[in-house]
Symmetry: C2
Subunit: 523 residues, 2 copies
């Protein structure tokens, strides 16, 4: 067990955790966003990052500090915390990026880790090799050998109570990522950055990012805190957290501000293109777009950086609330519609539904069917697995409507797309309390048909009748031939009568989420 | 032409407009949200509504004012604007809701409109009959007769330069809604509230709301400003604006605050259930959930009301920016994932794709394929209509990849799901500049197949070959039998080579929306 990381709550593969950083005397709640501080350029005073934005941890680059003489002297003399004026935890990077970018750097893992220790870093980083996406397999594997040695070197350094990162590389090779994760988890190092995903995100390859992280997570243990190195755009927090990422770092807030860019949860806008500010943060509440455009460049950069941080931390709070509510995948659904590449990312995530299912909670908030993709969620997979284990009578009616007043079946079960059939006794259990659209989609019907198939295959002796509301041919084609079909929509009277006893999961019922509106307040 | 309403910009059936309210000397930019003010209970000082939240118009109830003696006297003496301390435009309701609720009221259209004029209302309302959803057809039709008479009575009142509402009723009967819309548009009245949709929204029947509004809009003229009476929850703004609604009113912000409820763009939360505040508004920036829970009841109500208004106006700004950017339907896509009933609402909206298509811009922002539903967007419909009019050679290759280096076809066209085929010359025109997921979905392939069909049916003499990336059986089944099929995925070498000349619409290219992130700021 890694006793500096404790998981408090979880949803899908995402979790709310507490990372104890002993050297800083600080406990950081995760998911957390570490603003990147360039020791040479200060966009927002680090002390404000904690008091105004709630950042308990930041990240800066020890290699840059070490190679900038006056900064190095100050850091060694005063310590990083005093130098930056930040009393939270400070993580430091090692120069690995510079190594990858320029081919060589003037340090070693041992040396740079000792330097990080000496300047008072709370979480240090060895010199790993961030292999870019689509590198050759040979390259990725040989880089991994170097990274493995760096981790071993790091283990040998006397770092005191500084935590140490164990980066997980492997380019776009899932087996290498998984192996790297397993090896990193086997060290006595502390925090696990999944590295070299930035080039994927820069080219909007969110599906490849998902595959890389999912592979790394298969190798890492559940108690490993995972950092998605270089990822700080709020559009992908929900997706990355759902995969099991705990830490993010953002230079984006400052870099984009310098470029006149304005972050939102679904992308990045140019300030010059905005006629309205789609945000209520203190900056957007105080300024109009014209006013923001009118201030001088430095002030505009600072104001945009503040907005960017507000929207970033806001999304992180939204993600945490979703984990508490058990509707993180519903938030991922929303964010998947921010950009076609995010839709790809969500579709890729669902390719790993089995992996998510193994660690997901068995019971959480109300499952919302929101799209065709919802049919591929881990909760649907789990229900289908469970269907094979339920006890089933000799003759069974599975119906989208209620129990007929007269019938000869041994039992009558409900059918709700995308889950498929279940005994009425389970109606009030998660996820079968689901709310789903009235306008059922083909993917949900198809998944329900697969539920019927799972039931029939586990119980070949049972005579099953399926009464459905006019399912799509594709869905009906997936129902085993032994099942008797009855189309409820062909019998309009019955459909209108809607005599079901067990409630109708399709009708959104009044609940705590209901918007109570009236024609006028006084009514 | 209604010269008090001018449309400045539009997207789908939504628009940014300017409603000139002559009596107030105010021009209100639409879409606009009118906070509801109860003359007896003031949650937020009306003057702050304009200065801090940007509300240029509010709504209050003249019937309540008239039946509350001291308020009536003050209103008659000081006028509404002084009484409420509001210098924007003021709309007044008539007591119709009270009529519907209690069976009778002590006034007539003539009397209450004269009263509204006398107290200085800027937009008055006659006494219409808000027929609830699912009323009998006879009831709906006879109520409509009364409403028609009320409109005629209203036309006869000397209202000076006060604008007058012409409510559109008709319950859940689309033909009655359409007829009511047509008759209202034929009066010389000014603003067109679609009435009695609140019960639909309260029971989450967003699809029925869509059908009712779409029907009313078919009857109304394009230059009629349309008010979705009683609708003020931000979750449905994008959907309602996309249908062509211009005005909303919200009592929700105050009523919900009284109940400890906290609005978001996807629903309503109970403050007591929140561990984090998923918002950056001045209230949420200043308080934690625990701090909000700790203040006394009146202050908590005021603070929640302010948050609720912030998130409401924020969403309205987001909707307007989306109209400017030409991506309103992309915003509707996102909001459709807030609740299963919103997914129903979006699916219902797409049932009216032809109606939207007739007024939608021919060219706007980049079309984003974001879900299976995207395949049903009006832009896809329009492209299919256009396919029948394009000139086509005798032999044509339609391919998801590039032009083969050697071939015998007269022309080679690209195929991009969900649009289907098009000549390369159109590649840079809207909507064919679309960005779509790499992981194409069955609905997009199916729509592309329908594009092929449209082309073939209009050009029966042309020999068409379709080279596809391993489409779904359902999509291939929709391709006419005369088309020669070639599966590019069966030929992995070719797929890898990807020799196309015209660029690949599937790969999200670097653009202004790209999140530029780097491992650390200093890199």
């Amino acid at each position: 067990m890694r006793d500096h990381f404790e998981i408090r709550d979880h949803d899908a593969a995402g979790r709310i955790g507490e990372l104890t950083v002993p050297r800083a005397g600080v406990t950081v709640e995760t998911p957390a966003l570490l603003p990147v501080i360039n020791p040479n350029i200060e966009t927002i005073d680090p002390s404000r990052l904690r008091s105004e934005f709630g950042a308990d941890m930041l990240i800066t680059n020890s290699y840059i500090i070490r190679t900038t003489e006056d900064v190095r002297e100050r850091a060694l003399e005063d310590g990083l915390h005093d130098m930056l004026g930040f009393d939270g935890a400070i993580m430091t990077d090692s120069g690995s990026f510079q190594l990858a970018e320029y081919g060589e750097i003037d340090t070693t893992t041992t040396e740079i880790l000792e330097f990080q220790r000496d300047i008072g870093s709370d979480v240090g980083t060895p010199v790993d090799i961030p292999t870019p996406p689509d590198a050759s397999r040979e390259q990725a594997a040989s880089d991994l050998d170097v990274t493995r040695q760096a981790l071993a070197d790091a283990e040998a350094v006397d770092v005191g109570d500084m935590l140490v990162n164990a980066p997980v590389q492997g380019s776009t090779y899932p087996d290498l990522r998984e192996q790297a994760g397993r090896e990193a988890a086997a060290t006595d190092l502390d925090v696990f950055p999944v590295g070299a995903v930035v080039p994927m995100m820069n080219s909007y390859r969110y599906d490849d990012m998902v595959d890389a992280v999912a592979a790394a997570k298969r190798g890492l243990a559940e108690d490993c805190p995972v950092h998605l190195f270089g990822a700080g755009h709020p559009m992908m927090f929900a997706l990355a957290v759902a995969l099991g990422c705990d830490l993010f770092d953002s230079a984006a807030y400052a870099l984009m501000a310098r470029d006149g860019r304005y972050l939102t949860v679904s992308g990045t806008e140019q300030l010059e293109d905005l006629d309205y500010l789609p945000c209520s943060c203190p900056i957007c509440h105080e300024y109009t777009p014209d006013e923001l455009r009118a201030v001088d460049a430095d002030e505009q950069e600072a104001l945009l950086a503040e907005h960017n941080l507000h929207v970033t931390f806001e999304e992180l709070r939204r993600v945490k609330q979703a984990i508490r509510d058990g509707d993180l995948l519903e938030l991922v659904e929303k964010r998947a519609r921010g950009h076609p590449a995010m839709a790809d990312g969500y579709r890729a995530l669902l390719d790993h539904a089995d992996q998510l299912e193994r660690i997901d909670s068995a019971s959480k908030g109300t499952f919302f069917g929101l799209s065709h993709e919802s049919a591929r969620r881990p909760e649907v997979r789990r229900h289908h697995d469970r269907l094979a284990r339920l006890s089933v009578p000799d003759s069974l009616l599975c119906t989208e409507y209620g129990t007929p007043s007269e019938h000869d079946y041994d039992e009558v079960w409900r059918v709700v797309p995308p889950f498929g059939p279940f005994p009425r006794a389970l109606s009030e259990t998660y996820p079968l309390t689901a709310e789903v659209p009235d306008r059922t989609d083909a993917a949900a019907e198809r998944a329900a048909a697969e539920g019927i198939r799972a039931l029939v295959e586990a119980n070949p002796g049972t005579e099953v009748t399926l009464a459905h509301e006019g399912w799509d041919a594709d869905a009906l084609g997936a129902v085993p031939e032994s099942v008797t079909l009855e189309n409820l929509h062909a019998d309009a009277d019955r459909a209108d009568a809607d005599t079901h006893a067990g409630g109708d999961a399709d009708s959104p019922e009044a609940d705590a989420d209901e918007p109570a509106e009236s024609r006028s307040e006084s009514e």
